[in-house]
């Protein structure tokens, strides 16, 4: 049993991504976002989530992909990392899957539209490929990167 992890699967464009369900707080529909001036470019702003102010980032911008239209499927996945709570805008959140440990492989060092720094690995279900994200790297940019983004 311990060898099975659960993931929330979501889409950015046509590709399927996954985050560990233990890091996901809730999944919200799109809501009004207040822009924060002088924030890094991929930060969309802040939202009011039941009385709490939560920063929201656009995952596609974070990965350097072209932003997409907001549709009825657009979701904000609220994730938590120890002292950080952040919302991530995704094109749609589709399902929760279970993956045994041995079906997760390390990320390919080249190829793919997202820098392998941001990835924890690639999960396989049948012929589907799930790109598993490393939230630490995505949400805690290194010193140099932050400065460049500011």
């Amino acid at each position: 049993m311990e060898d099975i992890r659960q993931f929330v699967v979501f889409k950015l464009g046509e590709e399927e991504y996954a985050v560990d369900i233990m890091q996901v707080n809730t999944i919200e529909r799109m809501m009004p976002i207040t822009r924060v001036p002088k924030a890094p470019e991929f930060v969309e702003g802040v939202i009011n989530l039941r009385g709490e102010i939560i920063p929201v980032i656009d995952l596609k911008k974070r990965f350097g992909l072209a932003p997409s239209e907001i549709t009825a499927d657009t979701r904000i996945i609220i994730v938590m990392l120890e002292d950080l709570t952040v919302g991530m805008i995704v094109d749609s959140a589709t399902e929760v899957v279970q993956l045994p440990h041995d079906s997760i492989e390390p990320p390919p060092s080249v190829g793919g539209s997202v820098s392998s720094d941001f990835l924890e690995g690639v999960g396989k279900i049948g012929d589907r490929l799930l790109i598993i994200l490393n939230l630490e790297k995505i949400l805690r940019p290194g010193e140099s990167e932050t400065r460049a983004a500011m």
């Binding site: 207040t34 924060v36 001036p37 002088k38 924030a39 802040v46 920063p55 950080l84 709570t85």
Partner: protein
């Protein structure tokens, strides 16, 4: 270990430490029986709590302190400054261990042996401390028992059982020391209960001992039976058995016995979860009445909510509905007050540290300083209380180092030799003011100006025209320190500028008043509470921003042609004063362009003496807002002090005026 208990332990220990600190200082000035009893109680509770939680070093150290206090209590030892010193040293060590516990879950590598030996030196009547002898003294062992063990012994003696101290020495060439020790344990366990071993049983099993160890055994057997049993085991060199009488525990030991384990020998972590404790949450002790009040208000809110729901919407019930709404508004505002009160803490919690700081510093500096504290009961928001300590310590150190003169110099000026340092807190409208004042030499304007010139902050000609308060402002500039010789206490280049930044980040201001040879006063003005403020809501493009009312001086409407271009930007003339203008649209990168009307709305904001005009599109009116943090992810965003949630659920950002000016 249960984190809940740990938190309670830390909280209560901190209180006892504060108690000890202030009462020890009190004892030095005023050695009455009451004070010593109070100290005794704190030390005793601390020992008990630490013992229960398994923090043996704290419990051992407090035990030693208790022994010394006992001597003072029974008038066998006079209260001298050096006795107080060593006791305070002990308190500091305990504080250090508590800090470690809070951070890492264990006492850390704190060596209590030197202090313990100092404490014992006084006990043995050697009087003033001889630091070189400290290591020798720590070799002496006087076995101490915690309350639990004492109780067992007491119970045992009621049943006519005796407690024996069995000292077992193994042959020096003994190979399997722990195995031999195990056999000894086995043999003695048959006789009764082993209540304690030294070193700890875990250490014995791990062979962390030299060639000897102590076992404390409660049994009905005689000395001879014990001796025979142990001697029958191979590779034992010698066995010594001695009866322990309970009342010996507070007496000092008769002779020096070599102790197999140094006091500081680190105990292995027995419980793995000890290491897991990383963070302790912040807690706040609240007067139970305040919470009851909150509870009542909440229940009233629920009642009124049901009443509102029951109302049908027909016009004839309009009157009743309005009444219910008014009632609701009243309760909400009381609830707000009540919640705010829960967050309020008396500034005493911060001021309490200072008697100790002042005592230590006056010794170090060779100055005589009398600390006067006023208004310690004044309450401030917990957030501010947590942050204000360091800036205050800095100011106090400054006053003692730079302000108050050495006794001889004071005598020469006809002042009393003892300087006075005053800490005073009081309410002033919606603010709390904290004053730190000394009756020292005052700030030397000439020197400040000279220094400012040498640092190229101002040139000679301009310098002559500066007013006194403008000169004093240099003190708060970064990298400024007038004292030539840098001491340990203050003046390391980082100084008042840091204090100022801290206070401003709390929404406060700081000013200084000084008079030559009469003294200096630093005045800190802080908002009563951080969480809720009055703000002016403004519109920029389609975005709404809040500007704290406390930093707004006035609002003026001007015509576009009144804007004047100067070298560094735009200014307006306001009653003869030149006020620089900031276009918020540009600063905040507002997506929509500025409205192109002929009439401009300018909000004049101030920070200290400086004023700046902010051009906004629309004024949306005054509002009470609850400040919320942007969180760790966005904590370093320039110009934004936080966020607030508007009536319609949207988020508006709060401008950080200090960063803008």
């Amino acid at each position: 270990m249960d984190n809940r208990y740990l938190n309670v332990f830390l909280e209560e220990s901190t209180e006892h430490i504060e108690n000890l600190n202030s009462n020890l200082l009190n004892l030095e000035k005023n050695p009455t029986q009451e004070v010593i009893e109070e100290i005794f109680r704190s030390a005793h509770t601390l020992k008990g709590m630490a013992g229960t939680m398994g923090f043996n070093k704290i419990s051992e150290l407090t035990h030693e302190m208790e022994n010394l206090l006992q001597e003072i209590r029974s008038d066998k030892l006079p209260v001298t400054s050096s006795v107080i010193d060593v006791l305070l040293e002990g308190v500091d060590l305990i504080q250090k261990m508590l800090d470690n516990i809070s951070a890492e879950g264990n006492e850390g590598q704190v060596d209590i042996a030197p202090v313990v030996s100092d404490l014992r030196m006084f006990l043995e009547g050697k009087g003033e401390k001889v630091s070189t002898a400290s290591n020798k003294a720590s070799d002496k062992t006087e076995e101490s028992f915690n309350e639990f063990e004492v109780r067992i012994m007491e119970e045992a003696s009621k049943k006519n059982l005796k407690t024996w101290e069995v000292l077992v020495r193994l042959n020096e060439d003994c190979l399997l020391k722990s195995a031999r020790a195990f056999l000894v344990f086995k043999a003695l366990e048959k006789f009764g209960d082993i209540i304690k071993t030294k070193p700890h049983v875990q250490d014995i099993e791990d062979e962390k001992f030299e060639n000897e160890f102590y076992i404390y055994l409660v049994t009905s057997k005689s000395e001879k039976e014990i001796l025979d049993a142990v001697n029958s085991i191979a590779e034992i060199k010698s066995v010594k058995v001695k009866e322990i009488k309970i009342d010996e525990k507070t007496k000092k030991s008769e002779g020096a016995k070599p102790s197999p384990s140094a006091q500081s020998a680190p105990l292995p972590d027995k419980t793995a979860d000890k290491a897991k404790i990383k963070h302790t949450t912040k807690t706040l002790r609240v007067d139970i009445e305040r919470l009851d009040n909150l509870m009542n208000l909440v229940s009233e809110l629920i009642i009124i909510k049901t009443r509102l729901e029951e109302q049908d919407r027909s016009p004839e019930h309009e009157q009743k509905r309005r009444e219910a709404l008014e009632y609701l508004a009243r309760i909400t505002s009381s609830l707000h007050d009540a919640v705010m009160k829960v967050r309020m803490v008396p500034i005493e919690n911060v001021f309490n540290r200072f008697p100790r700081v002042v005592r230590d510093l006056s010794k170090e500096l060779g100055k005589q300083v009398n600390l006067v504290i006023e208004g310690a009961e004044t309450e401030l928001d917990r957030t501010i209380i947590d942050e204000i300590g360091d800036p205050l310590i800095h100011l106090v150190r400054n006053a003692m180092d730079h302000g108050i003169e050495p006794p001889a110099e004071r005598a020469g000026k006809g002042k009393p030799q003892e300087g006075t340092l005053k800490l005073k807190a009081y309410h002033d409208g919606n603010n709390v003011v904290i004053e730190v004042s000394d009756d020292g030499r005052g700030i030397d304007f000439e020197k400040v100006l000279e220094k400012a010139q040498s640092l190229n902050m101002v040139d000679k000609i301009q310098g002559k025209k500066l007013k006194e308060n403008e000169i004093l402002n240099f003190l708060f500039a970064s990298g400024f320190s007038t004292k030539e010789e840098v001491t340990d206490i203050s003046g390391r280049g980082v100084g008042l500028d840091v204090v100022k930044t801290k206070i401003e980040s709390l929404g406060g201001t700081i000013e200084v008043k000084t008079k030559k040879n009469e003294g200096t006063t630093f005045l800190i003005r802080l908002p009563l509470t951080l969480a809720i403020i009055q703000a002016l809501m403004v519109e920029l493009g389609k975005e709404k921003y809040a500007i704290p009312l406390s930093s707004i001086k006035e609002i003026v409407i001007i015509e576009k042609h009144e804007l004047r271009k100067v070298q560094n930007g735009e200014v307006i003339l306001l009653r003869g004063n030149v006020v620089p203008i900031l276009r918020l649209h540009q600063v905040l990168e507002i997506p929509e362009g500025e409205s192109d009307g002929d009439i401009l709305t300018v909000v004049i904001v101030k920070k200290g003496d400086r004023e700046v005009g902010l051009i906004v599109d629309n004024l949306l009116g005054e509002q009470e807002i609850v400040i919320k943090s942007l969180g760790n992810f966005l904590k370093n965003i320039k110009f934004i002090a936080g966020a607030t949630i508007l009536g319609n659920g949207q988020v508006a950002l709060i401008l950080d005026i200090n960063a803008l000016i």
